[in-house]
Structures are given as structure tokens and as C-alpha cells.
């Protein structure tokens, strides 16, 4: 009988050990921290980039992926800043959410200049969608409706108030000359699909999110995408107009990229930037982007760092205006 218990204990120990075993690091191999549980966007970034880095020979040993969920990426950020700030073999998955949270001081006082952003090599384009039977035909009409009555269009999105999905329609409205952004209604729900459900159900009038979130609803005919927030129309979705061509110069994409610790040498930073460029140019990455609804968006090295700096200060200013940040 004790044996049965022992067996149970051992089985669970095996489960536990194999769980942690996957995430342990060999000393010399590069490590990629995904600041979330397996399965999400950051996990995808680490696993895909890590795999391609090894497959194309940019690194000698397979890249180890460590999942470090917590505080929306804050826990991983804190670990990198406080404990591993000179580790040359460490890369960390990041996206627009990382910069949004940094800009809004959501990482308990840590700032964007405590790490170095090495590059982004793909992006999920931002979209504004309405229910298929909605009266709203285009972006201009929507902005006019809100100007006439700010309460007439409520938005649903997958991020919290002040998050990136919330900021997208606000950027458009500011371009359209509407400045009272706190009067715009927005509810943050659990992900883009839920936001679409609320919009199709008529509880909100528009959905703000990413292209990958709307694709299956789009082909099913439940919704219409009235604008995509990219420079050019997205390949495969040529019938969806950009915000730019409708007269609203707003580009908002959810980029997928990496940051590295601040304390590494400039040479090592450039080296990582070069490796990332190699991944961006590979066929494997082109395929991975296609499979996951990402559009090409390559900015590496110093170029990317200045893009991130600009993004952080823009979001910071807008968040103060919104009141989500003092």
C-alpha cells in the first residue's frame, strides 16, 4: 500500500521534473525567455526564432526556451534587469505589449532604457472591425459619428483599458481632430475573439484588435474590417483599405521581436541584430509568418531601438491624457 503511494509520488515527481527539465539551461547555449506560459505569442516568438536560429546555423547549439510568466512580462523584465544584465547569451521575446506596459509604468517603475531592443521581424497588423450588418461603412463615417456623439460607438478589444487595442482607435480619432479621448467608450475583454463576439452581439459597435484575431470571422461573414493600420494593404487581404488611404495617418502593428540585457557589449548587440536579420530573411520564417497571420515588419539594431523609443514616448503621452497614468 505504501508502494502505491510511492508510485503515485514518483509519477508526479516525473511529471514535475520533466516540466522543469524542459526549461533548464545548458551553460553555453543561448537562452530565450518567453515571459508567458507555453502557447502564447511570446512563446511562439521564442520557439520559432530559436528553432530557425539553430536550423540556419546562426547559433551552434539549440536555443533553450524558458517560460517565465508573471505580471504581463514584468517578472521576466525584472529578472533580466536585476539578475542577468550582462548575460551575452540571453534573448527575450517582446511585442507591442512590452513597450505599452513600459510606457505606462506597469512594470513597477522599470523603464524601457534598462534593456536594449534588438529587433522586430514580423507584425500582426492592427484592425478596426464592425459587425457585418453595421451601419458604419468606413473610418471617416465612424469618426464623424463619435464627433457628433462620443457615446454612439463603443469599442471592445482584447487588452485592458489603456492597452494597445484601446490606443488604436484613439490614435485614429486624434488624427481625425477629435481630442476628448476620455469620452470614448472602450471595454477590455478576454481576447480578440471575445471582443468580436460582443460586437457581433451588438453590445459594442466596433472591435479593435489584430488581423490574426479577425481572419476566421471575416471569412465566415460575421464582421467587416473597415481599416487596417499598416502603410500598405496587407497581402492576401487587398480589399481591406488602410487607415492611411482613408485620410488617417495611423500605423499600429503588434510587432514580434526581442530584447537583450543592457550590459552586453555593442559588438554582441550588433551580432544579435545580424542573426535576427538572417532569421527575417529565411524561408522558414516567411512560412511561419504566413501560417500565423503575420505581415513582414523588419527593423533591427539601432534602427529598431529608436523606433521603440518613439513608441514609448507616444504611448506615454497618450496614456497621461487618458488618465491611466499620472
Amino acid at each position: 500500500m505504501t508502494k502505491t503511494l510511492l508510485k503515485a509520488l514518483m509519477t508526479s515527481a516525473v511529471v514535475a521534473v520533466s516540466a522543469t527539465g524542459v526549461t533548464t539551461t545548458a551553460a553555453s547555449a543561448a537562452e530565450c525567455i518567453a515571459p508567458a506560459n507555453p502557447g502564447g505569442g511570446w512563446d511562439f516568438t521564442c520557439r520559432q526564432i530559436g528553432k530557425i536560429l539553430f536550423d540556419i546555423g546562426a547559433v551552434e547549439k539549440p536555443v533553450q526556451v524558458t517560460n517565465m510568466p508573471g505580471a504581463g512580462g514584468g517578472l521576466a523584465y525584472n529578472t533580466v534587469v536585476a539578475e542577468r544584465s550582462d548575460d551575452p547569451d540571453l534573448i527575450v521575446a517582446a511585442s507591442s505589449a512590452t513597450t505599452t506596459r513600459l510606457a505606462q509604468n506597469a512594470y513597477a517603475g522599470m523603464t524601457a532604457d534598462q534593456v536594449r531592443f534588438v529587433g522586430a521581424i514580423g507584425a500582426d497588423p492592427g484592425v478596426i472591425a464592425v459587425a457585418a450588418d453595421s451601419d458604419i461603412k468606413d473610418l471617416g463615417q465612424m469618426v464623424e459619428m463619435i464627433k457628433a456623439d462620443p457615446g454612439s460607438v463603443a469599442f471592445a478589444g482584447g487588452s485592458a483599458v489603456g492597452g494597445f487595442d484601446h490606443l488604436k482607435p484613439l490614435m485614429i480619432l486624434k488624427e481625425g481632430g477629435f481630442t476628448d479621448i476620455t469620452s470614448v467608450k472602450y471595454i477590455g475583454v478576454d481576447g480578440g475573439a471575445d471582443a468580436i463576439t460582443q460586437t457581433v452581439g451588438g453590445f459594442t459597435q466596433a472591435m479593435t484588435g489584430d488581423m490574426s484575431e479577425v481572419v476566421s470571422f471575416l471569412s465566415n461573414g460575421d464582421i467587416r474590417v473597415i481599416a487596417v493600420l499598416t502603410d500598405e494593404r496587407v497581402p492576401g487581404f487587398e480589399d481591406i483599405p488602410t487607415a492611411k488611404e482613408q485620410g488617417f495617418d495611423v500605423v499600429a502593428v503588434n510587432w514580434r521581436g526581442l530584447y537583450v540585457p543592457k550590459g552586453i557589449s555593442d559588438a554582441r548587440f550588433e551580432e544579435w541584430a545580424g542573426k535576427l536579420q538572417q532569421v527575417a530573411d529565411s524561408d522558414a520564417w516567411a512560412q511561419a509568418m504566413k501560417d500565423n497571420g503575420l505581415a513582414p515588419f523588419t527593423r533591427v539594431g539601432g534602427d529598431f531601438q529608436s523606433y521603440v523609443d518613439g513608441l514609448v514616448s507616444d504611448i506615454n503621452a497618450m496614456s497621461k491624457e487618458l488618465g491611466v497614468l499620472q
Partner: protein, 501 residues
Amino acid sequence: METLANLALGFSVALSPYTLMLAVVGCFIGTIIGALPGLGPSNGVAILIPISFALGLDATAALVLMTSVYYGAMYGGRISSILLNIPGDEPALMTTLDGYPMAKRGEAGNALVLSGAASFVGAFLATIGLILLAPVLARVAFLFGPAEYFALYLLAFCTLGGMASNNQAKSAIAACIGLGIAMIGVDSTSGLPRLTGGNLHLYDGVDFLVAIVGLFAIAELFFFIESHGKGSSIGVVLDKVKIPWKYIRETIPTMLRASGVGFVAGVLPGAGASLGSFLAYMTEKSIAGEKGKFGTGVPKGVAAPEAGNNAAAGGALVPMLTLGVPGSGTTAVLLALLMTLNITPGPTLFRDNPDVVWGLIASLLIANVVLLIMNVPMVKIFVKILSVPAWILLPGVTMVSTTGIFALTGSYFDLLMLIGFGVLGYFLRKLDVPTVPVILGILLGGNMEDALRRAMTLSDGDPSYLFSSPIAIGLWIAAIAGFVAPMFLRGILKKPQAVSD
């Protein structure tokens, strides 16, 4: 006919020896994960995802493995609820209320077999419901806006008062403690952290598993230490395991009703298995009335939450597959798995990937049968664990669940919090305050608040928005009835008792 043809396609995908083996392995691992406090189904599946990548499984194989683990964990959660009075995972919480008293009475085997059968009925009916109704039910989600969700959660809390039969005020206090704990973390409506004291570890809020293991397992350990190993409530009289046909026959209507309630709760995105088992239990309790003696170890009290939570587990797959909206924590992880396999759940999934969908459904049916077979004969093994003296069993359970919690986040902070909850649980029990409402407060409080705040945002703070649809009004009436009815019923039911005294 089309459904049958599709199902045949599904079985042709799922019925290879290799996938069958994966189903058996998945069911076994799932049952263990479910039974161990500290490893819930969502974490179990999350932990296994990297392993399925490492094994290089294809989409179908990975799905079969994960859904077997998912259903297995739903079955397994009841084992520690019944045997140890420690719920193995969130949805198994309600099973402790009648399962453990039954086991104390020497009917541990009966309770396990009965709950296994109830789990089978719930899961089986839910899978059938998924096959027949998925496309129709997907539309139900469009009818539920913030006001409707708020009323639904309100219904759950209003029936809570009737749960602890001895003192309603104490269970209300307990629920408030739970609601308070649910407030911790980043507020999703304003994006600002609340009650975190600037501590990053608290930004994501308090994990249910930490609360459950702390309030139940660790608190039990403190009692054990206090009494120097005597007087612990752990240790149940062993009986011969026979199939209690009488109980199963008696509880068939309960199982059917509970499956229905659970399935509907599961279909609603965001409600999930915990709400399913809770509503199923409370429905049966109110049908049986005071005479039903719920809470004292009645078979119906074991069958209802188990049928309810397994049906909800199946129901939760409906919005996940048809809308891409996960109906529970575990389906959120399964959703993530599908996305990493380059399959995007949503309205077009049934059309674009019929092999994946029907393979998944077939594997659910297979897993369910495997689990029934595994859980009835093997129940003896689980009951035998009981005869291990408490001084080995309790530290063993504590060790395993602590390891489990640590494996989730790799953070020592959760362990400190675990002990904190243990202390809280110890004092609450000393004060005779029930701990189940605390957990329910943590589980449902956040969702309820979100629904209310969203409703207020959309309506510019106009409370009448909360009663603006027939569904919302219906739920409000049910909630008020659920809150008020026990007060009157108690008066009516107590009088004859007083006479007989």
C-alpha cells in the same frame, strides 16, 4: 447523416493504435494531475504542451493527448476531494461537500464509483451535445453581454448563502474575503494595479490553485501538527469496493439534470467548469430541499457536481471551437495549443479543418470510455492509498502539491502565499467559517466585477442597463428567488421538526 459521416471521419483519424495509446497515457496522467492538489487541469495541460512539442507529435496526436489529459483531470479531481477533503482542482471543490462525509461514513468506494459514473454521464452527454449543437450553441454567446454575465454571476453568489447550512452570515463573510482577494492584481478595466503593494508577483492576482492548496491541504497540515497527529480528520474507514447500483439508479435524474445545467454553464464563455459544478449542486440542493440533507454525505450531492463539472468541461469546448473564445482556463490553454499547431479556432474551423474537429470529438468519446474503465476497476488502488497512515500521507500530499505549485511559476513567492493561505484556512476553521465560499469568491469575483464595470462603461453608469434584456431579467429573478426562498422555506420546513421534538 452528415454528422455520422463526420464522426466516422473522426474515428478514422483517432482510432489508430498509436493515438489510442496516447489516449490511455493521457487519461492516466490526467487522472493523476487532477487528483493531486496543486496541479489543476489547466496547469497540467500547460506543462505538457512543451513535452508534446519535444515528442514532435502532429496536430491530431497532440490534440488527442491533451484532451485526454483534460478529461482525465476532470475525473481525477474528485478523488482527493472525496478521500482527503482537499479538492484536486477548482471544479472538484463542490464534491468535497458530500463526497468527504460519505467517505468518512465508510462509503469511500461507493462515492468514488458513483462520482466516476456521474463524470462519465456528464462528459458523455456534453460530447453528444457538442456534436449536435455546436453550430447552434455558438450563437448563444452572441446573446450574452456584460449585463447578462453580471446577472449570471450574481445568481451564483445569491445561492451561495444557502450552502453552509449552519450559519449563513459566516458563509457571507467567507465569500467577502474571497471577493477581497479577487480584487488583487492589475485591474483590467483601468489597467492600474490594486492591492499589490508594488509587488510584481501580485500583478497577475492570486492563483486559485495556491488558494485551494493553502486553505485545504496546508491548513489540514497545521491541524495535524497541533493535535500531534491525533484528531486529524484524514483517515477514512476502508470498505469493499462494489458497484453501488442502487445509488447509481437513484441518482440518474440528478445526473441528467446536472449535466444539462453544467453543459449550459460551460458553453457560456468565461463561466467554466467551476460555475457548472456549483450551479449543478445548488440546483439539485434546492430541488431536494431541506429533506435532501445535502452536505451530510448524500449520493445526489456527489453525483450532481461531478456530472455538472464534466458536462461543463465538454460545454466549454463549444465556444472555444466555434468562436475561438475559451470557456474556461483549460480551454484557454487548449486554444493556445491549437494556435501553435497553426489551427485557428473560430467560425470556420468546422469547415476548414473537419479532420481536426471530428478527430478531437472522436478522441473525447474514446477518452471518456477509457476513463470510465480506468476509474471503476482502478478505484481500489485509490482507496488503498487511504490506509497509508496520515503521518505519511499528509506530508506526502503537501510535498507533491508544493512542488506542483512551484513548477507552475518557478516563483518562491507563490510558496509564501501558499503558507499564508494555510494560516488563513487554519484560523477560519477555528472560527468555524467555511472555506468553500472563500474559493468561490476568488474564482468568480474577478469575472463578476469585470462584467459589472463593462456594463457601467457601456451605459455611462446607468444601472437600468443591468435589466435591459429578457435574459438578464430572467437571471435576476432567479437570483433573487435563490436568495430569498431559503429564508422562507426554512421557516416552513422547521415547524414540523419542532413538533416532532
